[in-house]
Amino acid sequence: MIELAVEDLYLSYGANPVLNGVSLQLQRGEVVSLLGASGSGKTTLLRAVAGLELPSRGRITMGERVLFDGATRTEMPVEQRDLGIVFQSYALWPHKTVEENIGYPLKLRKVGAHERRERVQRILGQLGMGGLGKRYPGELSGGQQQRVAIGRALVYNPPVLLLDEPLSNLDAKLREEARAFLRELILRLGLSAILVTHDQAEAMAISDRILLLNEGRIEQQGTPQQMYASPATRYCAEFLGSNNRIEGRISAIDGSDAALQAAGCSIRGVANGALQEGQPAVAIVRVERIRLRSTPAPNSVSLPVSASMYLGDKWEYVFRQPGGAEADGFALRAYGSEAQVPQPCYLELPRESVWIFPA
């Protein structure tokens, strides 16, 4: 069942277009991430759904209710949309205690004082902050403030929860804990949610589906696994993961396969998009897909190592063609478990992990 639908939404700030025809559907009990670089329009899309920005065209509906319709110029005021929003800055009211912050939406809904207190306590319990109700936001840590913001957005059981970069204000260590907390909470309460983030790991960890936005359009959407393992466009392939990029020309096409002739090597891979022989193209290979071998293997290149970096759980190596200038020389990155690479060293690029796109 579709909880929320956005159809062909357009929005601009003055002459500057931000959203160029975005559509999305949110099923009940589903979490969708809006992922994109800064300026891709992801926060604007969320704010438009909330009613905090005014689109110029398109339609937003929630079940039977029309939140916005550009054709009939109808716009439902923010306060009547009944959505729960967690702001990036949390936007807690500093002059109200935690209980008052969470209880205020109930007060607006004319919930009696007794029931209000009970529901606030229940939410605080679910968030694991039972004893902190009398504190002011300024007396809480970042993680606790975030939980209060979530509690305030959940307390009146909105059908859809909107989260704007909910983890970006936390420091790295806390962020991982909060990520796990958020995913568990969403599953436990069966929430439908839209999450805006620029952090792919966060998007993949929390959501059932990812929408990748690029310049106000949806570049690709799918499950985290689909998005990561089989990107449809070069932008998507490069946006996710940690990548090697090899530039060259197409030397041969064979069904779904293509061969790329680059400086000093020839690589076979999966052809994506319309490719022709002799056309400039680019191959994308995830860093973790490259295997290091001491004997020649199919689809491999041999390069001297130029740097090794210890990352804690693994090593990262940079291989670089000798002689070429640092900046434009052909280089590849790979992971391994040893300080030293095997000698001699061949880098195997498994054919199915090399995606070739038009340049």
């Binding site: 005021p77 923010v78 009944d82 807690l92 009211w93």
Partner: protein, 587 residues
């Protein structure tokens, strides 16, 4: 900054002159209040007789009571209205909010004397609006001379002061906290009462104290509107004392001044304290983002009507009154507007030397005096600039003191300085301790006279104006100077520049646009000023402001109207230039 500022010669001179300009007049008020007679009479003695006389006067008690009623009424009327106006204009889709903003500033820059006069000719017993109302209804439904009406008028014309502080606090308040309230279901009205206004509580309490303080200082409005029914406040009571005993009763005026200052100094210190704590509060604000304005929906028309009504009563009525009255020969019941239109009053103004001198002086003191004032304030601000030591602390508190002394009193104190200092020097050179100087007689002949003559030059008025507005002007200028990043000054120092070279070569040039803006603001304030010049008024020191006060007493309505019109014109030109060049007219 860890290094204490060095005491250079120039800094010592600036600090000493500033302290002299602030404390000398104040000392006169204090000493005079404890004398039994004006200081120039020979048989004066120390004592509390002046206070005894004043405290026994029933008029004084009435003035004290009415003064507090007025101040309290100002807070009750202006703060809620100012807060509402600030919210509507900075946060909502109120119709016409773009052009309302500059209009709101008009009562701040138009002299209260002019406003008060405007109310008399527009809504007094035979004012324009009153006669029109009389024609329509058969009676006049208001009496602007009653105390409640005066309080309402003063309250409405002081709304902009509350508005300015509350709106600047609202503007720096993150919009996300308001959006959060909206998304959980609050209507715009609920957002205002539950989130926006509680979050700017420091600004609200600051505005309340400021309004109470301004209420105690009201002079022009009360002088004009309170006179017909004999309502007095402390400042008008003091003004009326001038001739109460036939001779200048300086000792009684000083005693009243002491009472007034006893109330205003704590209020000024309280304002300073609140302003500081408001700054601290600013750290727990939300994120400032570009936000859509709140749609008022069905409240839009009602809110627009309330604002329009306020604009009409506080701005249109008095200004229309002044403008109309300036262009008619006379006015009364049964007079038709078309029959009496004329520019005769302006001919009269241009023919009289004193009035022309007043206009020229007003322009000079605004343009040239304003520039000199900014230069002096800049010198003082530089003496305090990024030098957190005891000297700065001393100046910091000292410049607040003139703020607590109403302009009328400051003018009086400066009059005493200009009268007494030459007199004292003369006597001292004749047979006092200065007579031991070798050139004593020559000095008596050649230095005392020019010193006496200073009083009848515009310099005396300029000095009084500059001291009265020191706290205000210094805040403008030190804010401007603090906008120059400290690294820029430090870079110049480490490149080998001496502190004075850094000030001359880096700080002042970088702050020049702010300084020019301050000049415009000082022009506007000096055009508006009227009470400070009242006691300094002699041939040669006329300004439009002080002439209005003195002409009002003689009942020369035509000329008062014409001068008021010229005054408004100067203010409007100044505001127009300021808005054209994007000068911030408030903080």
């Amino acid at each position: 900054m860890t290094r204490p500022g060095r005491l250079s010669v120039s800094r010592v001179v600036v600090v000493a002159l500033t302290a002299l300009a602030i404390y000398a007049p104040l000392a006169f008020i204090v000493v005079q209040s404890f004398l039994s007679e004006p200081f120039f009479l020979p048989d004066k003695e120390l004592g509390l007789s002046a206070f005894r006389f004043v405290f026994a006067d029933p008029d004084f008690h009435d003035a004290l009571r009415d003064g507090f009623l007025l101040a309290g009424g100002l807070v009750v009327i202006a703060v809620p209205l100012g807060a509402m106006l600030a919210f509507l204009i900075s946060r909502t889709d109120l119709p016409g909010r773009r052009w309302i903003e500059p209009l709101i500033l008009i009562p701040v820059f138009v002299s209260p004397m002019v406003l008060g006069f405007g109310y008399v000719v527009a809504a007094g017993p035979v004012g324009f609006f009153s006669t029109w109302a009389h024609d329509l209804l058969g009676f006049v439904p208001w009496n602007i001379y009653s105390l409640p009406a005066i309080i309402v008028i003063a309250g409405l014309t002081h709304v902009p002061y509350a508005y300015l502080y509350i709106s600047s606090a609202l503007r720096s308040l993150g919009s996300d906290v308001e959006e959060a309230a909206r998304t959980v279901g609050a209507t715009p009205l609920q957002v205002m009462t539950a989130v926006s206004l509680p979050m700017v509580r420091p600004a609200l309490s600051y505005a309340s104290v400021l309004l109470f303080f301004l209420g105690l200082e009201v002079f022009g409005l009360m002088l004009v509107l309170g006179d017909p029914e004999g309502h007095l406040v402390l400042s008008t009571y003091l003004y009326k004392l001038t001739n109460k005993l036939g001779i200048p009763s300086y000792h009684l005026m000083a005693a009243v001044a002491m009472v007034l200052i006893a109330f205003t100094i704590p209020l000024v210190m309280l304002q300073r304290h609140l302003l500081r704590s408001a700054g601290r509060y600013a750290t727990v604000k939300g994120k400032v983002a570009r936000a859509r304005v709140l749609p008022l929906g069905r409240w839009r028309v009602l809110a627009g009507a309330v604002v329009a009504l306020w604009l009409f009563v506080a701005i249109v009525v008095p200004l229309a009154g002044v403008v109309l009255r300036a262009f008619v020969t006379h006015w009364g019941i049964g007079v038709s507007l078309a029959d009496v239109l004329s520019v005769r009053a302006f001919h009269t103004v241009f023919e009289q030397a004193t009035l022309m001198r007043a206009i020229v002086n007003s322009i000079l003191i605004g343009v040239i005096g304003g520039a000199f004032t900014v230069a002096c304030y800049t010198a003082i601000a530089l003496a305090m600039h990024r030098k957190p030591d005891r000297v700065t602390q001393f100046l910091d508190y000292s410049v607040l003191i003139p703020r607590a002394v109403p302009g009328l009193l400051a003018g009086l104190a400066f009059l005493w300085v200009f009268l007494f200092v030459p007199m004292w020097l003369d006597r001292s050179l004749d047979d006092g301790w200065l007579s031991v100087l070798p050139a004593a007689d020559w000095l008596r002949d050649h230095a005392i006279e020019p010193l006496r003559d200073l009083r009848s030059t515009i310099f005396s008025v300029w000095l009084a104006y500059s001291v009265v507005w020191m706290a205000y002007g210094l805040r403008l200028i030190s804010t401007t100077l603090l906008q120059v990043a400290p690294e820029l000054e430090e870079a110049a120092r480490s490149a080998g520049a001496k502190p004075a070279t850094v000030r001359r070569g880096i700080t002042v040039p970088l702050a020049r646009y702010g300084l020019i803006g301050s000049w415009l603001l000082m022009f506007l304030i000096f055009e508006r000023e009227y009470s400070t010049g009242v006691y300094l008024l002699t041939p040669g020191t006329e300004t439009i402001g002080s002439m209005l006060v003195s002409l009002w007493a003689t009942g020369a309505i035509d000329i008062v109207a014409a001068l008021s019109f010229i005054n408004i014109l100067l203010v409007v030109i100044g505001m127009g230039v300021a808005l054209r060049f994007g000068v911030k007219l408030h903080d």
